[in-house]
Symmetry: C2
Subunit: 297 residues, 2 copies
């Protein structure tokens, strides 16, 4: 039998997916290829962590789920656009994404470029329309546009991509690794949480703690990803840990060792839970945090 | 001596450029390459037709220039991002833009992709911040985000790109040619004008006529561009008009003949001036319209 937590998570995902797909109306004209590419990538099996955080933080702050739902979808559209553009040949050149051909492999580079551009644009359109369609306060919608565009832009998520690109193949120090992932990974998670708080009209104090939680969660999540990469390489390829001396990519494991990285992940996790306790007492959010951060235990 | 019209145009351009560049703060860190790419393309010598239209329609409707200026810059950012992405190898593959290397030639493909993404994101950030920074009403800012994201997205400008891409190298009919350019060219011009009307809190009737003017102006502008392409080919290359039988690109000239295209441009121009007369009596806007649409006379 499913726990309350899993049932709630499924309920959130169902709400998100229904709403998310409704924003892209494919009409089966010959010109719908980019809309098809948008839907293909939106429905490619993401875990919806970011929009779930938006909904959960809205509810935890006493807000109305209906008002947070367009914001949640907007964050997921930004996440999806970033993956499509990241996979392009001039970026990471990835042929596969979540076990399926990446967007440009399926639809061609030009259509994938335009699908990313369209999702980015649709994200802000979705927030702007929430005022009329979901009755969200106009100031809240405007704050959401401001926050999301800040966290997603050149001083946020894209800024992290830039640092990552510039340091490709170079050994980097801890400060630079932190800066990369605080922008590339944590920024969009922070935006998801902030938009949930905005939808609920949460206090400045609650919002601040929520965003600090997001930063710690994001960093812990990234460190754990680095750890899992090494552990799965060891298991599936039989490589001893640390044997990739020719792989120049700096990770939390290469910089801090496996044990050091585990310790670091534990510290960020503890701080994440501390901030969470300060901002609210949602059982769902504590369980979600645990489910995301105990993948290495 | 400069006419009042030219002095006013220069004044608008000065205001736009100062404000536009102020949104991209390059701090000379090693990670500023994408910000440099954004500034490079923003300052590459555009005529600022769209943001001038935003300012002029705001003033013509009795609005405050200060409130329209962020909207004007937001439209120019969208225009600039679209040019950067259009020039990429997977799209038009253009090495030059306005007599200088295109963004990806100067900064590499990955940086150009991210510069476009960043300008698109910054555009909406700029509008969202206008509420705090320029005192623009929050509902007006939200309407501006809604309108710009509609005209720029997959049902607007990007949609025009899609139709253009799909029909590359094919002969198309008049309906398709109109659909392509009403989205690819006219949509962003309409958005520029609509944002000026929104900044001035213009009536629905005035806004509707202003947007209709924008559509007619955009179509006339595109037809004249097609005419000028043929005339300049004839002059510089000595090609007789209509000799490009192997060039499959359908234009208003190839579809309607040179004289037919001139007649069509005249009709759109007349309708543009009619709509303009219905919405306001700004001398500047009549002169601007004439300066844009009399290039073939």
């Amino acid at each position: 039998m499913k726990t309350n937590f899993l049932m709630q998570q499924d309920e959130y995902i169902k709400l998100i997916n229904e709403k998310l797909y409704s924003y892209v109306a494919v009409e089966n004209t010959p010109y719908d290829v980019v809309k098809e590419a948008m839907l293909y990538s939106l429905s490619a099996g993401g875990k919806r962590i970011r929009p779930i955080l938006t909904l959960a933080f809205c509810e935890a702050n006493g807000g109305n789920l209906k008002k947070a739902l367009p914001f949640a979808c907007a964050v997921e559209m930004i996440h999806c656009y970033s993956l499509i553009h990241d996979d392009l040949p001039c970026m990471d050149d990835d042929d596969m994404r979540r076990g399926k051909p990446s967007c440009h492999k399926q639809f061609g580079e030009a259509n994938a470029l335009l699908a990313g551009d369209s999702l980015l644009t649709l994200s802000f359109h979705t927030i702007a329309n929430a005022h009329h369609l979901a009755g969200t306060d106009s100031l809240a919608c405007l704050s959401a546009v401001g926050a999301l565009s800040e966290y997603a832009g050149v001083n946020g998520m894209v800024g992290g991509q830039v640092i990552d690109l510039i340091n490709e193949g170079k050994k980097i120090d801890a400060d630079t690794l932190y800066k990369t992932h605080s922008l590339k990974t944590a920024a969009l998670i922070c935006s998801a949480i902030k938009l949930g708080a905005i939808a609920a009209n949460a206090s400045d104090e609650a919002t601040k703690n929520a965003v600090s939680y997001g930063y710690e969660l994001g960093m812990a999540f990234q460190i754990i990803d680095d750890i899992l990469d090494v552990i799965s390489d060891e298991k599936t390829l039989g490589k001893p840990i640390g044997s990739d001396a020719d792989n120049q990519k700096t990770t939390f494991v290469s910089l801090y060792s496996l044990d050091g990285a585990k310790k670091l992940a534990g510290e960020h996790t503890k701080r994440a839970l501390d901030f969470l306790a300060r901002t609210n007492h949602s059982e769902f959010l504590f369980e979600l945090t645990s489910s995301l951060l105990t993948r290495i235990n």
